[in-house]
């Protein structure tokens, strides 16, 4: 009986706490950022980054260092780069093949994304890390002009995207719904 009483009290406390939490007001951003989102949605996407990826601060720092090092080396030793190495014409066949492969993987990932199913925490973490690496590769791709460098980076991008696709595809689950139990809940509001 005592246990039952205590359990009832604990349950009442939990309900009180829940009620207090739910009574907290909704928060709003300082200003609406819809205009920026709209711009991003209507902007034609860059070829190297079909989906915009946010790159973590550490990766931006690494990328910035790399770009600075490349530019610095060129400024300090402008004659060390043979003119013939600079690609001004179309990329090589091998590079084009890698670009096509990368685009195919973009399509595959879009299909996987479209299913909008949650993945487990370990896989989510792995995906986030791979996405950051892809973001870094995209940054590097924007900074290279030699075909051999570009080819290496496209190859790396294809490899990372393959890993991302297999991680996402291999860690899907269908249980517990996509909706966090939403199917069990009624709506508070109706929009007509």
């Amino acid at each position: 009986m005592r246990d039952e009483y205590m359990l009832m009290n604990a349950d009442d406390d939990a309900h009180e706490l829940a009620a207090a939490l739910r009574s907290l007001p909704l928060c709003a951003p300082n200003r609406s950022h819809f205009a920026e989102l709209e711009r991003e949605l209507t902007m034609p996407s860059a070829p190297a980054a079909a989906t915009p990826r946010r790159v973590g601060g550490a990766w931006i720092a690494v990328a910035a260092t790399l770009v600075a090092a490349i530019l610095g080396a060129r400024l300090l030793h402008p004659r060390s780069l043979p003119h013939t190495d600079v690609v001004t014409a179309a990329p090589s066949t091998d590079t084009l093949a890698l670009i096509a492969q990368s685009q195919q993987l973009d399509g595959l990932l879009a299909t996987l994304d479209a299913r909008s199913v949650p993945i487990d925490a370990g896989a989510a973490m792995a995906c986030a890390e791979i996405e950051d690496l892809i973001g870094l590769t995209d940054l590097q791709l924007n900074a290279v002009d030699r075909d051999d460098e570009a080819q290496a980076l496209w190859s790396r991008r294809v490899d990372l995207m393959s890993r991302l696709a297999s991680t996402r595809a291999g860690n899907r689950y269908d249980s517990l719904s996509d909706n966090g139990g939403a199917h069990l809940q009624g709506a508070n509001y109706r929009v007509d």
């Binding site: 928060c27 989510a124 109706r190």
Partner: protein, 202 residues
């Protein structure tokens, strides 16, 4: 004796059916969703405006950082727009969007690398909306919980998630969810003991 209390296993559905109504729970007409799915920006904006505050609030409560909450709102809405065409309609739209937002928030938590460090104290969250004193006290107490504990408390008490759903979202066990909830509730009680009584009997 007719028992009015429920066991832990019964709490989920009872709460869902009886008491928990999420701020996300807004019925959106399928015609509006279809228009947005076909790329009609004004229809999408309508959906954005409807869910801007629920998504932002959820992210703010979970992450405890206004800038990150804004980024999560942005990313979640970006994802929503790209995936709208795949919405099947066999479950509420708002639940689908909420899951997208929660996944974004959880990914942020993982990128911070604090999922395991449950004792870390975040900076205090100030909601811009003016609120009564007791609500400010509760917000302050909530913001002093570690992010993971706070997220579990919020998902369970406010969004009506079951322990099983929280466990799956975090990639942890049901025991993890239960212990985080117990820990969070205990800490909140300690931080917010007197004002909670005011709320309960007001």
């Amino acid at each position: 004796m007719a028992s009015t209390h429920v066991t832990c296993d019964q709490i989920g559905p009872t709460r869902i059916l009886g008491f928990v109504t999420s701020h996300f729970a807004i019925d959106v007409p399928s015609s509006l969703i279809e228009r947005a799915a076909h790329g009609e920006m004004r229809a999408f904006e309508h959906i954005y405006r409807l869910f801007e505050r629920p998504v932002y609030t959820l992210a703010l409560r979970m992450l405890g950082d206004a800038d990150e909450a804004q980024e999560i709102l942005h990313d979640a809405m970006l994802q929503l727009f790209r995936k709208l065409g795949q919405f099947r309609g066999d479950a509420p739209f708002w639940g689908w969007l909420r899951q997208i937002a929660i996944n974004e928030a959880l990914m942020r938590l993982r990128r911070r690398g604090i999922v395991e460090t449950v004792d870390e104290m975040p900076e205090s969250v100030d909601c811009s909306t003016p609120s009564p004193e007791h609500q400010r006290d509760l917000e302050r107490a909530l913001s002093r919980l570690p992010p993971v504990t706070r997220s579990v408390v919020w998902l369970y008490h406010v969004e009506g998630y079951s322990h099983e759903e929280i466990a799956v979202s975090f990639g942890k066990s049901v025991s993890f969810s239960k212990s985080q909830l117990a820990r969070g509730t205990q800490k909140l009680r300690a931080l917010y003991a007197a004002p909670l009584v005011q709320v309960a009997y007001a």
